[in-house]
Symmetry: C2
Subunit: 556 residues, 2 copies
């Protein structure tokens, strides 16, 4: 069986200007980056604003397990299949982070015959967007310390600086540092640390801004810390917003690539799905909606985190109204939710499927609460048995939804034809009536409670007094109307990663809250969250190299 990289390399790519032309983007609106990648000019994007929007389809998933689900693959396969059916479709995806490539993870560009290409480029530096975001993040950090160094005119309390530095690298040594050591010339020593670039608020701002002016304004609103008496100091107070916007200007134009089957794909931005909202840029999604009749996009992690944030944060802020949603599952993953160990997944176990399907059922039900019709994409593995598949399909049928078998990994577009027809049916049915789960005017604690009750099915929310006081303070400072962005484990509906299936009655512990004033949400941290990954004992980097012809070996 061919590997993803072998399939990607064997694919014949079209020049990106041909992909663009078919998508309605003239050559003079392209900034090429090599022959197969291009940025679409911001002027062209702006000029499309009067056009009607296509239908937006969200691809989300069950709570992830080590068995794998194939959400990106389904996003790509579905887009290809819709195009094959004659529906003009674009795909909108996140850009992969460079750091994890050198750890344990493969690429993030789909798999098999459902990939976006050129996959090596997209998984490595791509068009440099993440580097620009890293630079903007770190310029602000340098300006914070420079501000302290030259007299600290704002009265920023060095102990209350929340702005951290960033690198697009898995590097645990940088999680906690003391900076400015070495004497007078190097500044005032203080505790600091680095997050991976995708966890930077700059990344979230980049992905939620609707134009350059909004980008610069959001950057200016970002809070870098507090004064001794609790007053927020912002990037604008330090006059860093303009230079940061300059660093991001070119990156802010969406990136156009293609799938192996030639569908146009906008791959742009990639915020973490824990501390941020986990989906591609508003710029890319809105452009795609102007150009295509259907746009297929993806949200990170399971639907409890990814879809909820996509709908309550991104769609709310950008005024998007999804027409349909696909929840991706696999028999194998559902068996894990039913209690089967990974090593035993090869053995038929219909009872386990029936136990585990509750996870899928709840995600389907949850998406319905947003007023969006749902279909399930069931990615077939060769080890799946007919009886196991039938058990999933029966459970979904019983709740008024279909589970459509998909084989796009091995078969490309035709493997997702059924799913595409079902999605088209949902769109054409016109049943979508999207509304976010809560209105802006609910209190911040009330928003957390709504999500906990309606999506996580928690019995209660535990907000310690100091955290509640902080929420109160955010509200008094004028941030009551912001949505909340919950950071919790992706493995469970609850905050306990081992509670698979569909737990109820649990307590959601809100450990900490943070204001992301530029991104425009309040982060509620529920449990441990990791904002800088580490490398494993044997990092993938050790086996990555160039062969004698200069080709990359060992990356995927």
């Amino acid at each position: 069986m061919a590997t993803d990289i072998e399939i990607a390399r064997a694919a014949t790519l079209k020049p990106i200007r041909e992909i663009a032309e078919a998508a309605g983007i003239p050559e003079d609106a392209l900034e090429p980056y090599g022959k197969y990648k291009a940025k679409v000019s911001l002027d062209f994007v702006a000029a499309q604003q009067g056009r009607p929007d296509g239908a937006l389809v969200l691809v989300t998933g069950i709570n992830p397990t080590p068995a794998g689900e194939g959400k990106t693959t389904t996003t790509v396969g579905l887009g290809d299949a819709l195009n094959a059916l004659g529906t003009k479709t674009m795909i909108a995806l996140r850009e992969p982070s460079l750091g994890p490539c050198f750890g344990v993870k493969g690429g993030a560009t789909g798999g098999g015959y459902a990939q976006v290409v050129p996959m090596e480029d997209i998984n490595l530096h791509f068009t440099g967007d993440f580097h620009a975001i890293t630079s903007a993040n770190n310029l602000l950090a340098a300006m914070v310390d420079n501000h302290l160094y030259w007299g600290n005119g704002t009265g920023l309390d060095a102990r209350r600086i929340s702005w951290r530095r960033a690198l697009d690298m898995n590097d645990r040594a940088l999680r906690g540092i003391v900076a400015s050591l070495g004497g007078v010339a190097n500044g005032f020593p203080r505790e600091d640390g680095f997050d991976i670039t995708v966890a930077s608020e700059v990344m979230a701002v980049f992905c939620l801004a609707k134009d350059l002016a909004d980008l610069q304004a959001r950057l200016g609103r970002m809070v870098v810390g507090q004064t001794r008496d609790g007053r927020a100091v912002t990037a604008k107070d330090l006059k860093a917003d303009g230079a940061m916007a300059v660093l991001l200007r070119d990156a802010f134009a969406p990136n156009l690539v293609q799938t192996i089957e030639g569908s146009p794909a906008l791959v742009h931005g990639g915020p973490f799905a824990n501390i941020a909202h986990g989906c591609n840029s508003v710029m890319a999604t809105r452009l795609a909606l102007k150009l295509a009749d259907v746009v297929v996009t993806e949200a990170g992690f399971g639907a409890d985190l990814g879809a909820e944030k996509f709908l309550d944060i991104k769609c709310r802020q950008a005024g998007l109204k999804p027409a349909a949603c696909v929840v991706v599952a696999t028999v194998r993953a559902l068996k894990m939710h039913g209690g089967v160990a990974k090593a035993d997944l090869g053995t038929e176990d219909v009872a386990a499927v029936k136990r585990g399907v509750v996870n899928l059922a709840r995600h389907v039900e949850n998406v319905g609460k947003f007023g969006i019709p749902v279909v399930v994409g069931l990615n077939r593995f060769s080890s799946d048995t007919e009886a196991e598949i039938a058990a999933v399909q029966a459970a979904m049928h019983a709740m008024g939804t279909e589970a459509i078998l998909c084989t796009h990994w091995g078969d490309g577009a035709k493997g997702a034809a059924g799913l595409a027809r079902a999605v088209k049916g949902l769109i054409d049915g016109g049943r979508a009536d999207f509304a976010p789960l809560y209105t802006d005017h609910v209190s911040l604690a009330g928003k957390i409670e709504t999500i906990a009750r309606e999506v996580y099915r928690a019995g209660s929310v535990a907000i310690p007094a100091p955290v509640a006081a902080k929420l109160k303070r955010f509200e008094e400072d004028g941030f009551r109307d912001l949505p909340v962005c919950i950071a919790k484990t992706q493995y469970s509906f609850s905050a306990d990663p081992t509670a698979l299936g569909a737990p109820t009655g649990h307590v959601l512990p809100v450990r900490e809250v943070r204001l992301s004033a530029g991104a425009g949400f309040v982060v509620a941290v529920c449990g441990e969250i990791m904002t800088m990954p580490g490398l494993p004992r044997r990092p993938a980097a050790e086996s990555i190299h160039l062969d004698a012809e200069g080709r990359i070996e060992g990356l995927f």
Copy 2:
């Protein structure tokens, strides 16, 4: 008078494929980055190796002063003027560093009507090369700490780790840090720090490697630290070399841009001229020599540092043989060498010119020691008087060299026509007989002494016993044949930045020596060197922003 950025924006650029075609690079050898920048494919570069080389012209300068000299501007103006004379000429320059753009410095792409464009792009992210170098540097750093974390199989002594992290940012807070704080999960706390990317050995390696295989091999030889008993641990020992080469692969292809007058320019790589050798990549220089009859290139700082390293390190390693050299000076700068304060430069002072011209004379004499014929390019300022200019020209004439007045800043190619004819005359005269200042087989201390005596005119070299022992150790470890790279102040022939003019008899104090085994040189640190700049009280970043049309304001 129009500013540099106004002139650059008003210029009509040709599509980069037209520039390439005229330079002999077919479109299929280009990887475009937007419409006006492109990388030239490594396959095309390799395919040119059988062709004869053009003539290599080095542009260097007197010791820099706050008055400014205009070395890059002269490089560009000379290239344009040679092309205007009908000599097929390419320009090879360093890429600017991003960090200083936000501090005090303007761009590094020339000035007036002698600029490479698009200047905003080149001065900001350009084609992402420096970001790739930053990533490679920091992947190695992450792998060093990961190696300690997972058991430290090589026995690396955490106190003897010399590999530092890097960012392309002016950030004094990162000069000295303690990393890996926060408990067991974050590793073993240790002292560390960041250098600006241009000071990374990866940058030097990138600029000296002759092909991808050489790049990967050099990366592998880089020393990250020592074991307790003094054995070197390399990037290859940590299996980081392959992944680093993968990160650098695309960046390693030279970047093609154009001057305002349409000359082709390769702008590629940019190592610091103190801790490294301070000139553009070997890849770019060698490609240019294959494509053009004359290649004009530049070395950093004054000729005592930049030209010496260009000749003794880059030309030695790459087998290059310069045909001619231009030493750039201005009347104003020579007056400062003659003791005039910056505020008084507007007043005619022929006596000061005559006192200061000794600095220029010595650089001219020094270049002659390498067997290269020299001409002086005298950049004219409006405040220069005829008598002052005549004083410089007379002094040069007396030593058998011409000082040619140049006005390319305001006049473009025609302002450097005289210089171009003089350079062409030197090339056609065929008098060049290049040899480095010392042979490989001299001891490391002997090489330092040769440079000190012949170039700096020091009376003696002070090498403390521990430094001498370290040199001895390098020699025993097999590095005796490497050239030395001296890091000292650029403002004087001596290690004292206030000793202007042409000091003699001074002592060169060698404070420290470092092995750059990947770059292939031994750094001798003579005085303070700065490998991470800071931001000034009012950083340029504070006034940089996007205007309502998304244009960059305040950058230059």
